[in-house]
Amino acid sequence: MTRLHLFLAVVAAVMAAAAGAADLASPVESRASGAPAAFIAAPDLADRIVNGDARLRLFDLRPASAYEQFHIPTARRAAPAELAAAPLGSGADVVLYGDDRATVSDAIRVLRTRREATVQVLREGVSEWLGRVHEPRLAVDATPEERAQFERAAPLSRFFGGVPLAGVPRSEVPTGYWTGTPRSEELLEAAALQSVAMIRRRGC
């Protein structure tokens, strides 16, 4: 072992010991950046909206123009900084959705400083809402499980003014976390960017 190796080992040991001591002195849980927020699936969110859940507070973090064009019913638009003073009420269940992870993350950090509400995120935002609630699709050769999901989604879709599509070719039913094909160019672009991001993050 050379002197350089010994020096680097000592540096690593000191930094590691300090990391342990820092967490004991100031636990991560008490810091605003904390653990990742929990996700909520679009059908579960739709159920809560339909049932008029009084604890639900839904915030749309996208720009005002996107919000005006379309937003999930009951959602209020807010910038992350505005959440610091938004009226929530004790025990509120906040659900967030937005266009990019940085904005959502900023909002989570702001809300965690208030310590009065749980925070969940609609992972794929409006794309997921459109695909799984607004326009659920059932393949012509659907499995019993897919049929059961569709039967749950179809009434929700109609409730929100959507159009459930049954008997569509299998090739038009995307697989994966969110299903459904967004029709506008903007949503297609957003979905493509999300797919690129997933591929990038799954690299070896």
Partner: protein, 192 residues
């Protein structure tokens, strides 16, 4: 401020331009670390040359300590760094397959590219096999999918499973790694 791509400092184009530079640096350091040589890599399995262990654990310690302290100092937003989801069974099977392939070929995906870039034909052979495997995986995906998505555990960390603070986990892992470096040195120096 960081990660640059997630905070918007580096757009998609910037990220695409940064990727080759980072890839080049990664390959250069692997090659300089001696990991472009199949016999050296295979030595890991015969306990005759533990370079792989030392290089990889050095990188792991550097990244782990760096990420923790940069987050603590407010430079890095660690919660924005993607944490891959754990699927216990398929990843265990994949790890075993990876190990078998590593032992047979003497190279892993990254080092095979390094080997190929330095003109080694075994590197080219491994890359060809890897691409063939990718193709077969895609063709058989419908059949493999139930296993592929089995035993999902979400984006968890070892410290979550152990119920300890991240800093404590870092201290433990650093102790293990530093002890491992000493033991590896002794194993390499033992008479044969």
């Amino acid at each position: 401020m960081t990660p640059l791509t997630e905070t918007g400092w580096l757009g998609p184009s910037g990220a695409l331009m940064a990727a080759p530079a980072i890839g080049f640096a990664f390959g250069w350091f692997l090659e300089r670390g001696g990991l472009g040589s199949a016999p050296k890599l295979a030595g890991q399995f015969y306990l005759t040359d533990l370079t792989v262990f030392k290089v990889m654990f050095s990188a792991l310690l550097t990244a782990m300590l760096g990420a923790f302290w940069l987050d603590r100092l407010g430079v890095l937003q660690l919660q924005l760094v993607y944490l891959p989801e754990t699927f216990a069974l398929p990843q265990a099977i994949g790890g075993a397959l990876f190990g078998v392939g590593f032992l047979i070929a003497g190279l892993c995906p990254g080092t095979s590219c390094v080997a190929a870039a330095t003109g080694r034909r075994d590197g080219l052979g491994v890359i060809a096999g890897m691409l063939l495997g990718v193709g077969l995986f895609n063709m058989a995906f419908a059949w493999i999918e139930p296993l592929y998505s089995a035993t999902p555990m979400g984006a968890i960390r070892l410290t979550d499973l152990a119920g300890i603070a991240p800093g404590t986990g870092i201290a433990c892992l650093t102790t293990v790694a530093l002890t491992g470096f000493v033991v590896a040195g002794r194993i390499e120096r033992r008479p044969r």
